[in-house]
Symmetry: C2
Subunit: 341 residues, 2 copies
C-alpha cells in the first residue's frame, strides 16, 4: 500500500496581468507528521476570494505577498486527523488559514472550532466568515446607511455583495445591486430581495443606474472598480460614503493606465460633495466581531440573509476556479471541496 500523500498548490510565477495556469504548480509530498503540541489537519473546504490576486503581486500592502515556491494562502475548513494537542480531538472541525493544500500542520493557534449543529461549516468561509464580516463591518462602520438612503454594490450575487445589499435593506436602506447576466440579476432581485438588480453586461449601465437611483447614491460599497465606478461616481450625493474593500476589475491591469487622468475630477468631487472614500480590511474592525456573529447568525437562521455557494470539486481545480472568479464566472461564494467533511 502506498504511503498517503499530501498535495499543495504553490505560486511559481508572479502574473503579469491576468493569472495563468502556469503561475501555479501542483506539488505532491509525504503526509506531514505532527510533533508534540501539533495537529494534522485534513482540509475539507478551501475558500477562493478576490484578495488572493493581490497576494500574488510583490507590492506593498497590508499583507505580505505569497513568496515564489510558497503555498497559496486561503481560508479553509479542516478536520483534525491526528492530534498531539490537548485542546483538539480527532474529528474536530475547525476554521483555519491553511491555504491551497490537502493537509497542514497546526499548533492550534488561530484555529476556531466549528459546530456543524449550529451552522454548516462552509458558512464560516462565507456569510458567517470573512466575506460576511467584510460586508457587515464596511457597511456599519464606513457606509453607515440611514433609512431611506440608497446603497449600491457590485458583484451583488457574490459573497460580499450579496450580504451588503441584504444588510442594507435590514437597516432600512434601498439596495441596488449590479451583477453579470440575467441569472445572477434574477437571483439578486428575487431571492435576495434587492430593490433593483442591473446587468452590467447590457449596454447603457450609466443610464440604467441613474434611473434606478433617482435620489442619487448615498453609499457605494466598492468591491470592483472599473466601469461600475464610472457609472456610480456621478450619482454620489453630498456626504456619500465609499467603503473600498476590493477592486477586482483592476487587479490584473498592467500599469500605466491610459489617460485621461480621472484623479483631479474625482478629487474635485470629493471636495465639492464632501465625499468619504475609505479603504478597509475587515480585521481592523475586530471589536465588531461579536456583534457580527450574533446579528448575522440570527439573520441567516431567520432567513433574512440568504447566501449561495458555488462549489468546485478537487484541489487541482483551484487555479481554474480562481481565474474564473476574477472574471465573474462563479455564482455565489466560491469554494473548493478538497475532501469530504
Amino acid at each position: 500500500m502506498p504511503e498517503p500523500k499530501s498535495r499543495r498548490i504553490i505560486l511559481v510565477a508572479r502574473p503579469r496581468g491576468r493569472p495563468q495556469f502556469t503561475d501555479f504548480r501542483l506539488e505532491e509530498g509525504p503526509l506531514p507528521r505532527p510533533g508534540d503540541g501539533q495537529l494534522l489537519l485534513r482540509i475539507a473546504l478551501l475558500s477562493l476570494d478576490p484578495y488572493m490576486r493581490g497576494r500574488m503581486d510583490d507590492v506593498r500592502s497590508y499583507a505580505r505577498p505569497v513568496g515564489l515556491g510558497e503555498v497559496m494562502v486561503g481560508g479553509t475548513v479542516a478536520v483534525v486527523e491526528e492530534s498531539r494537542h490537548a485542546g483538539f480531538a480527532v474529528g474536530d472541525v475547525v476554521l483555519s488559514h491553511s491555504g491551497w493544500q490537502t493537509h497542514a500542520l497546526s499548533s492550534g493557534e488561530g484555529l476556531v472550532k466549528l459546530d456543524p449543529a449550529v451552522a454548516p461549516p462552509s458558512t464560516a468561509l462565507g456569510v458567517l466568515g470573512m466575506p460576511g464580516f467584510t460586508a457587515y463591518a464596511g457597511l456599519l462602520e464606513v457606509g453607515r446607511p440611514r433609512p431611506g438612503e440608497t446603497v449600491v454594490v457590485a458583484a451583488a450575487s457574490g459573497a460580499v455583495g450579496s450580504a451588503v445589499g441584504q444588510i442594507a435593506r435590514l437597516l432600512g436602506a434601498r439596495a441596488v445591486g449590479i451583477a453579470g447576466g440575467p441569472g445572477k440579476c434574477a437571483y439578486v432581485k428575487d431571492e435576495l430581495g434587492f430593490d433593483v438588480a442591473l446587468d452590467h453586461r447590457v449596454p447603457g449601465l450609466n443610464e440604467r443606474l441613474a434611473a434606478a437611483c433617482p435620489g442619487g447614491v448615498d453609499v457605494y460599497f466598492e468591491n470592483v472598480g472599473g466601469p461600475v465606478w464610472d457609472a456610480v461616481f456621478p450619482l454620489l450625493n453630498e456626504h456619500a460614503r465609499v467603503p473600498v474593500c476590493g477592486l477586482i476589475a483592476q487587479y490584473s491591469a498592467t500599469a500605466p493606465f491610459p489617460g485621461p487622468d480621472r484623479l483631479p475630477v474625482v478629487m474635485r468631487q470629493v471636495l465639492t460633495r464632501s465625499l468619504t472614500i475609505r479603504g478597509f480590511i475587515e480585521r481592523e474592525f475586530a471589536a465588531l466581531r461579536p456583534a457580527f456573529q450574533k446579528d448575522m447568525a440570527a439573520w441567516v437562521a431567520q432567513g433574512k440573509v440568504r447566501y449561495r455557494e458555488d462549489v468546485v470539486e478537487g484541489l487541482e481545480r483551484a487555479p481554474e476556479a480562481f481565474i474564473g472568479l476574477l472574471e465573474g464566472k462563479n455564482f455565489g461564494k466560491l469554494l473548493v471541496r478538497v475532501s469530504a467533511l
Copy 2:
C-alpha cells in the same frame, strides 16, 4: 457735494482656466438706503480665499455659483453706518458675508457682532474665522493626528495651512509644511514652529519630503492638489487620513487632464493601505464651533497659534490680489482693506 456712491465688483465672465481681469467689472451706483428693519453696512475688510475660484464656475457644488452680473461673494468685516434695526447700533463692527463691495444692506440675519477689545476684527476672517475653523475641524474630525504622528500640509504660510501645522503640534504631532520660496519657509519653520518647512520651488520635492518624513505620513491635509499630492501620496502610512479642503493647484485647470490615469493607482493604495480620503467644508462641523472659538482664542492669546495677514489696499485691487492668491503670491491671510475700520 456729490451723492455718496457705492462700488462693487461683479462677475461678468466665467473664466476658462486662470481668471482674468476681464472676468470682473467694477461698478458704481448710489448708496443703498436701508428700509425698516434693515442696516446699511460699510465694508472695512474683505477676505479673499481660494474657494472663490470654485464659485466662478457653473458646476454642481455645495454652494451655488456666483451668477453673471452678480457681486462676487466673500466674507467681510463691516461697520454699521445706518441702522433701522433694533439689534444693531451705528458704529457696531460685524462679521458679514457681503462680498466684493463697499456697502451692503442687511436684515441683520447671519451677522456676528465683533468686539475689537477681545481680538482684532480682521481675525474673524482668518485665524478665528472660516480658515482657522477649517484647519481645526478638518484636523480634529478627519485628520485626528495622534501624538508622534506626522502631519503634512501645503500652503503652510497661508491662512489654513499655518493653523493646521500649529494645531498639529499642539496635539503632539510632527508638522511638516510646504511653501513657496525661502521667505515663507523661514516663517513657517522659525515663526510658526513647524518641525520642517520645504520649498516646493526647489527641485527634488519628492526626495526631500521623503527624507523629512522618515516614519511616513499619517495625515495629509490636502488644500492644494497637484505636484504636492504626488509627493505626499507614496509616503502615506497604513490608516493615513487625508482631509480635503481645497485643491488650489487644479482649480483653474481645463479638463480633460492628460494621462496616465492616476485613479486606479490611488484606489489600489486606498485599499491596500486602508486610507481615508474625506472632502469637507467647515460648516458641516458646526457642532464643533464653540470648542473652536474657545480653544483658538486661547491659543492665539497665549501666542501658541500665530498668524500673519497680507493686506491689499482698495476694493479695486481685489481682482489682482485674488489672481495672485491662486498663484501663491500672498504671504499670510489675504485681506482687502475696503475702508478704514
